[in-house]
Symmetry: C2
Subunit: 204 residues, 2 copies
């Protein structure tokens, strides 16, 4: 058994963190550096992360997230946002792939045109893609935390409008999920049981 | 550097797989067993996986996915679905957590009532949750594949209605993402560049 598989098997969503354990910039940055290694369609990278770390900011977040205690106990809580305007920023996002010789300019131009065609005036696709990319990054973030000896907890119990207002999100930023990261305290649940495979898997 | 972090840093989305490398049931099942260790809100597990493995089924999938060659070259392609009817099946899904002593019946009952209240007649929430849960599982699946020495590629380029029709999805199953898994061939892209951290991370 290698440690990726062990991490996946043993990860739990932690409700109780050791409060007052500070996390420095370097760890916060490392976590997001790993999170952004997640794939996104066309490498859109249509995501943005707000690391809520100060006591004052955590209280503001808690106030719009059903007053969940873990928000103030975790070392940091990331607001993981997906971006609805992926198609508007894609030209700029893809250019380094051309500049670094990963792809030809002509292919990059074709991709930019495709994304414009797919996303423009298509709010359903914009939102699906925002939720999808942000979630792929959030999962990578949680496993990276595990790899760095930290515990995490995903949360969807928050008021999106309240979060947007408190943290100055743009209209095009969708707060998809919160991920608390910190040091595990006692008293957490074990990993909860999963549905049997035959209920969720069909092989054709 | 441990192997979780190495896996996250070195994972690439593979376009070229070694064709004709079969994958037996045990590997397919192991991959999904790992994928379902992903978290989901309230442990809803609102997902379903169709492993497209036979040559005939791969051709059917390719026909509704822009004829992408990797679909037939990968050993298996998973159709990762999110479920819109999470609230209708949650009573049954949560019961093992009570039966195995992880939580009290009274808490489970409260969660079931909350999910009913949140999801019923709320198609936006149902869809967000379906896309979110399926994406968390898909990311876990890709990293599990890496941990098992396999390569993967996520794909969103497919016709959802065509996939639903070809593979008999229910009206409540949203095909969120395809994940091809197999053995890496030559000629793949390196990992594409990521946006600089200062563009995507804000610490407050």
């Amino acid at each position: 058994m290698n440690s990726i598989l062990e991490a996946i098997e043993s990860r739990i969503s932690v409700n109780h963190f050791r409060p007052d354990v500070a996390m420095d910039d370097a760890i916060v940055q490392a976590l997001i550096s790993y999170a952004t290694r997640a794939p996104s369609a066309y490498n859109l990278q249509n995501w943005r992360f707000i690391a809520v770390r100060s006591a004052e900011a955590k209280e503001r977040l808690r106030a719009v997230a059903y007053r969940q205690q873990k928000i103030v106990e975790a070392s940091v809580v990331f607001i993981v946002c997906g971006t609805l305007s992926a198609h508007e920023q894609f030209q700029q996002v893809i250019q380094p792939s051309v500049d670094q010789g990963v792809m030809e300019q002509s292919l990059a131009d074709r991709w930019v045109a495709q994304i414009k065609a797919i996303h423009t005036d298509n709010p359903g696709m914009q939102r699906d893609e925002a939720v999808r990319s942000a979630s792929l990054a959030a999962m990578t973030l949680m496993l990276a935390a595990k790899g760095m000896g930290l515990a995490s907890c995903p949360m969807v119990g928050f008021d999106p409008k309240g979060v947007a207002k408190e943290f100055g999100l743009k209209d095009t930023d969708v707060p998809v999920i919160l991920v608390a990261v910190g040091h595990e305290a006692d008293g957490n649940w074990p990993q909860k049981p999963r549905r049997p495979l035959h209920e969720v898997l069909e092989i054709v």
